[in-house]
């Protein structure tokens, strides 16, 4: 009984912190429909600042106030410098947030390293009742959060600014009509939400050690709570944080602490499947799946002529072998093998993204299922490559279908985080199910390597070519898919989901099947990964890899060649520059932000647009070319919509 009291108490205190993070997420989401992936990292940075200040001998409360300021400042800057430019397309905002997360995490790693630190408690000591212990620090944390929540609700209700915020939240258009500056309200929401995160960071820092790596986990937890309460619903977030905090603490103390992440991801997925609008509200988030369909520009480029298309194909076919044969040493060759392995996964993601416009951060999870199916068959049953392929494909397709099913239920802007949770869940299961997967130690392949006719799979060269053929098959499949009836039905979903519905399409079913198909490609790639690398561990398939696969796709851009180029650039460039992993992360985070803000279509489409412009310039008649007086627009105006 005493243990129960202690657990519930600790859980309630934890929930106070979760409320702070979820409130920030919900606050920003309510106005912008954006979930800021970097929000959890604000938490972490504010905590580090407070930690440094207390080390300088400053009072806890001064440090906490400074953390709030740091959080608010980060929120303010990120809104003014980044998210302001993505407001028209929250999907871009999500990707920018992802980039910001990577950048801030790298910065924190550079300054403070990866070691956990602990902020000294506000008050030491405590008192015991029976065998339960109530520390003054925990009581202070709870008191601060409760007081803050009370003030927040009060201000929202009765202050002028609060009312304006609420009005902007409920109906931005109407609010703008009555003279509320909605843009400014968004800035305030970022400031307040991130300030709350700053405070949450300090408070959590007194409860448990925290490190630079904690941003990912915190945003997912905060999201789970915000989702449970109904996104945009502040009082819902409060109730949900108590439920979640206590639930999590119960899981940790009565089951196994390792299960906590599974609990978190499970909550997200179960809520989305059964109550997409949160626990306390009926009804759904929003009608339309949030897919990145504002891609008219790329789509409407001049089609390549047959000759041009053939040239591109031949160049691509020649480039891959050339790249490999020109590689100076076996290290470079090994890198290219990895790039090819990643390319297969990026193509697998493309199957979903190209057709439906849904970006999913779960590809590493599907790859894990494919690779581990092969690994488990090899380790436990002694079965080889072809068995691995035979079993991994349907199994992964099943998992992909499950993901698609969840995504189809998930009508709203939080789809990306859901897929991230799915990926994290699979990682956690691979880590926890030790008897099956050998846990952290991974699986070392003792199997004979396959052979493909005269080709083996022994040398790097053979591996590269086999994987490249797999990637080429994936591209071919994608090219064919686009022209089929099925592919066009998927396109209908991308372009206009509600219209697709009213024309009779089974939208959910279609999404499920395309994710399953993506799983098939991932499975093949996963098995090839297993048999070329010969060692797999959960760490090879962390959520970070899922994010990286998205980066490769966004860098390379849509289209048939984009993914391959994205993968090669991603793997080779950092190596050429001799970057450390932290610097790589910094560069790619910044690169991701830059690509989205400057050329949201990625390398290949941008290159194509430039090429088209060049062709037009060359083929224009001289009179026009030399017409300096009247600078005729070279690009058709894009936003002339009625």
């Amino acid at each position: 009984m005493d243990i129960l009291i202690q657990t519930v108490f600790n859980g309630v205190v934890a929930s106070a912190v979760y409320f702070l993070i979820a409130a920030g997420i919900t606050f920003v989401f309510g106005l912008t429909k954006l979930i800021n992936f970097a929000h959890g990292q604000f938490f972490v940075l504010a905590m580090f600042v407070a930690y440094e200040l207390t080390r300088l001998g400053l009072n806890f409360f001064v440090a906490a106030a400074a953390a709030i300021v740091v959080g608010a400042l980060l929120g303010y800057l990120s809104e003014r410098l980044l998210f302001r430019f993505t407001s028209a397309n929250p999907y871009n905002g999500l990707i920018v947030g992802l980039g910001l997360l990577l950048v801030l995490e790298a910065v924190a790693l550079k300054i403070w390293g990866g070691f956990p630190v602990r902020v000294p408690a506000s008050f030491s000591g405590g008192f015991g009742v029976g065998s339960s212990f109530f520390s003054y620090n925990r009581i202070t944390v709870l008191a601060i959060a409760v007081a803050l929540a009370a003030v927040l609700f009060r201000l929202l209700k009765s202050s002028r600014l609060g009312q304006q915020l609420q009005a902007a939240h409920e109906n931005p258009v109407a609010a703008a009509h009555v003279g509320i500056n909605v843009g400014r309200m968004v800035t305030y929401a970022f400031i307040v939400g991130s300030g709350l995160a700053g405070l949450g960071g300090v408070l959590l820092g007194t409860l448990q050690p925290m490190s630079a790596f904690d941003g990912h986990g915190l945003i997912i937890k905060g999201f789970a709570v915000a989702l449970l309460g109904g996104l945009g619903n502040l009082s819902g977030a409060m109730k949900a944080s108590v439920l979640y905090g206590v639930g999590e603490t119960l899981v940790a103390s009565y089951l196994i602490p390792d299960f906590v992440p599974i609990f978190t991801y499970g909550v997200i997925i179960v809520v989305l499947v059964f109550r997409p609008g949160g626990l306390f509200e009926k009804g759904q988030g929003s009608e339309q799946t949030f897919s990145r369909n504002s891609i008219g520009r790329i789509h409407r480029q001049r089609d390549l002529t047959r000759g041009e298309r053939l040239t591109v194909l031949l160049v691509a076919l020649a480039c891959a072998p050339m790249l490999f044969e020109l590689a100076p040493d076996s290290h470079a060759q090994a890198l290219l093998v990895v790039a090819a392995l990643y390319a297969v996964q990026v193509y697998a993601l493309s199957y979903v993204y190209e057709t439906t416009g849904i970006l999913s951060i779960a590809q590493a999870g599907l790859m894990l299922v494919g690779a581990y199916t092969g690994g488990v068959l090899a380790m436990h049953l002694g079965l080889g490559f072809w068995w691995a392929l035979l079993v991994a494909v349907p199994v992964t397709a099943l998992f992909g279908g499950a993901l698609g099913f969840i995504v189809a239920r998930c009508t709203g802007h939080y789809l990306l985080l859901t897929t991230l949770a799915f990926s994290a869940l699979l990682y956690q299961v691979a880590l926890t199910a030790q008897s099956l997967t050998n846990g952290d130690n991974g699986i070392i392949l003792a199997q004979e390597l396959p052979s493909f006719g005269p080709f083996g799979f022994e040398s790097l060269r053979e591996q590269f070519y086999v994987i490249a053929v797999a990637a080429a098959l994936a591209v071919g499949g994608l090219a064919i898919l686009r022209r089929t009836r099925y592919g066009r039905q998927l396109l209908a979903i991308r372009e206009n989901e509600s219209l697709a519905r009213s024309l009779g399409l089974r939208v959910g079913f279609l999404k499920t099947t395309i994710f399953a198909l993506s799983g098939v490609v991932s499975a093949v790639g996963g098995v090839l990964y297993l048999y070329s690398q010969r060692v797999i561990a959960p760490a090879s398939f962390e959520t970070a890899l899922s994010i990286e696969i998205v980066i490769m796709l966004v860098l390379g851009g849509r289209g048939l060649l984009g993914p391959a180029i994205g993968a090669v650039v991603f793997v080779v460039v950092p190596e050429l520059l001799g970057l450390t992993p932290i610097d790589q992360q910094l560069v790619f985070g910044a690169g991701l932000i830059a690509v989205i803000l400057l050329s949201p279509d990625g390398f290949v489409p941008t290159f194509r647009a430039g090429y088209n412009r060049l062709v037009r310039m060359i083929s224009r008649r001289p009179a026009e070319t030399y017409n300096i007086v009247d600078p005729a627009p070279q690009v058709a105006p894009q936003k002339e919509v009625v």
Partner: protein
């Protein structure tokens, strides 16, 4: 077409948005092969009625039967597969693609077992979409957008087509082709429910009209009779419009 039981039958259909009574206790029947017009002033509940029939809105009360079976709780996509399709007043079409691609997408949504009906080429011709086939849909003027929307709906070859103000934004010539198109589709067996303010079109097209006012049925019957109904003229038409209509027929 087989008469007797109506193809689509709504009883007691009601939609209240809080205090706003958009539709109250409507009994509407659409018989196979007929063209039913729904007219009424703005805000009288015409769009709401169509949306409930097509499964876009769940009615607060009442029931809908399609070919005799209860479809009140069916979702839009299921109704569409059963042959009932609606074009919305302001639903965007597939935006970021060319008209050609949009129509291909529409074709891909067709139930493959259907036979009779116009080919995409015929629809394109009748709706005068030929000259914009390679233009991006979302950059087209409103009149074209409307027609692409209609082309998509016809393209899936429904049995019942509900049109919400299809002629809004069309010029006289385009309206005339729309009328021809609808009549031709009806010959091929299509049943049509149409909402529009263009009385010339409605009188020329409809076998029967229903007049809605503040969510209730004010009058119904043959178009010529209805537009002479003093209550209808009083509530909605006014004399000049009915004069136009007489002239056209």
């Amino acid at each position: 077409m087989s008469d007797g039981t109506p193809l689509l039958e709504a009883t007691g259909l009601t939609m209240h948005y809080g205090a706003v009574k958009a539709c109250t206790d409507l009994d509407v029947q659409i018989r196979g092969g007929e063209i039913l017009g729904i007219i009424g002033p703005n805000g009288s509940g015409k769009s709401t009625l169509l949306k409930m029939l097509a499964g876009h809105l769940r009615p607060t009360a009442g029931s809908i039967r399609l070919r005799g079976s209860d479809v009140t709780r069916w979702k839009t996509d299921r109704l569409a597969r059963a042959g009932l399709v609606m074009t919305s007043q302001n639903q965007m079409v597939f935006g970021g693609v060319s008209v050609r691609e949009a129509l291909q997408i529409g074709e891909a949504c067709r139930r493959d077992t259907r036979n009779a009906g116009l080919t995409t080429a015929q629809i394109v011709e009748m709706l005068h979409l030929g000259e914009v086939l390679d233009d991006t849909v979302e950059e087209l003027p409103l009149g074209y957008l409307r027609r692409v929307g209609i082309a998509l709906a016809i393209g899936v070859q429904p049995d019942i087509l509900l049109l919400d103000e299809p002629a809004a934004g069309l010029n006289d010539e385009e309206t005339e082709s729309l009328r021809e198109l609808i009549l031709r589709l009806r010959e091929a067996g299509l049943t049509v429910g149409i909402v529009d303010h263009d009385m010339t079109l409605m009188v020329a097209l409809c076998d029967r009209v229903i007049v809605l006012d503040v969510g209730q049925i004010l009058a119904q019957g043959e178009p010529h009779d209805v537009i002479k109904d003093p209550a209808v003229i009083d509530a909605y038409l006014g004399s000049p419009l009915s004069f136009d209509a007489e002239e056209a027929s």
